[in-house]
Subunit: 240 residues, 2 copies
């Protein structure tokens, strides 16, 4: 946790500071091992970053007093990431990675090679998604919560919603066959679709191409989704 | 498993084919769900890739017959990666990622912020390291096993061994402060050092700089080691 994120809609925030007693308190106590007077990096969810000092810490909670809150979050990436739902364990990691890399718009979709059982994972509960996002933001020092959209049907999403998402943006589907090498990178509005383990099937690639997404290759190697995502984002946006 | 890797030093290989009954057999049976006559992508460890057909499969083993073995592995990355030993869970993932991305020379070193208990993890046993490497190679379709060097003392490594590793190569330490942005990428011989959670301490950065490694930044965000590694490699080598 490189940043303690305070959520004014959930935490008891006053103009003076905040008291924490949950996971963040335990981390501050056990990992940071703070004492009274220590200073921590804090940020308000979807708001400014800065410092807070430890006013009091005991067995049950830590009280922080705002020292200074005037910094902005790192620049977000102007990208919409469309992800065929990964298996639950990988989903957690990929969501944290996306949040840590500055992605703010995430669409989880079904595709032929997505195991249907994945859709019943408790990780897709609103609270759990929020937790994964927060872990990513705490890691990288960002306060702006990504938005996650869930679409359990491939065809209506691709035909009815995707064209509007793509409009005015460069748009790619990561697909190793019949693809162009990764294009030179600029900070342009972008849509990026990443398939499941085993990849999108030809029908799906056709539909995505028809919706305006060009196929994009990372070369000869087949990478796991959790590796392919940071590789693709860092190619598309060299300023991450 | 996108490639079944056969190790002639461990598997009973004949000129005709091979019979498998271990983890690979179970994966071929349960995930690939092959039947007699099916064709699988196979490769010989540190050797050629190609195809083999399923001659026989039952409850206990699968027998494969070489169909054609004439392809070369994807090009390796000309990089030496020096990694402050990550915590065990992350170590497994990072080793698999490095192997899958084509890194062939890996040095695991101690640094101030590496928890000493990490050095007693069973993942560092030779067999376990071999397994992690193999999982990465199976993922990406490569047969060339990386070499892993273990150095439990920072200073002797950096002073006595590192200068020779660096000679004639570009060399970087990932360190977000006082660093240059990631340089334009070419397929040049490279040394890359990545710190532990919390980063190298200033003394260590100085020593690494003195050994010829320039500090390299990924920007404002602080990324986990498992995210930073693919991001750094894909910046340094756009052809991955």
């Amino acid at each position: 946790m490189n940043l303690v994120i305070i959520d004014p809609s959930k935490d008891a925030v006053t103009s003076r500071g905040v008291t924490l007693s949950d996971r963040r308190f335990i981390h501050i106590r056990d990992v940071h091992q703070v004492v009274q007077g220590d200073v921590l990096k804090v940020g308000l969810l979807n708001g400014l970053l800065g410092l807070a000092s430890v006013e009091h810490i005991d067995e049950e909670s830590v009280s922080l007093t705002w020292a200074e809150l005037s910094q902005c979050s790192p620049q977000p990436l102007p990208v919409t990431v469309i992800l065929a739902l990964p298996r639950p364990k990988m989903l957690k990691r990929v969501l944290q990675t996306l949040a840590s890399m500055g992605v703010k718009d995430i669409w989880l979709i079904h595709s032929y090679r997505v195991d249907k059982s994945y859709w019943s994972t408790p990780i897709l509960n609103e609270n759990s998604l929020y937790e994964q996002m927060l872990l990513g933001l705490e890691q990288s020092g960002d306060t702006n919560l990504p938005t996650i959209h869930i679409r359990k049907r491939f065809k209506p999403f691709v035909e009815d919603e995707l064209p509007a998402l793509v409009e005015g943006k460069r748009a790619y589907v990561a697909h190793p066959y019949q693809a162009l090498p990764c294009p030179p990178s600029e900070l342009l509005p972008t849509v990026l679709a990443v398939g499941p383990e085993g990849g999108f099937i030809p029908y799906e690639v056709e539909k995505l191409n028809a919706a305006g997404l060009s196929s994009l290759s990372l070369g000869q190697r087949i990478l796991k989704v959790e590796t392919a995502v940071p590789v693709l984002l860092s190619r598309l946006f060299p300023v991450i």
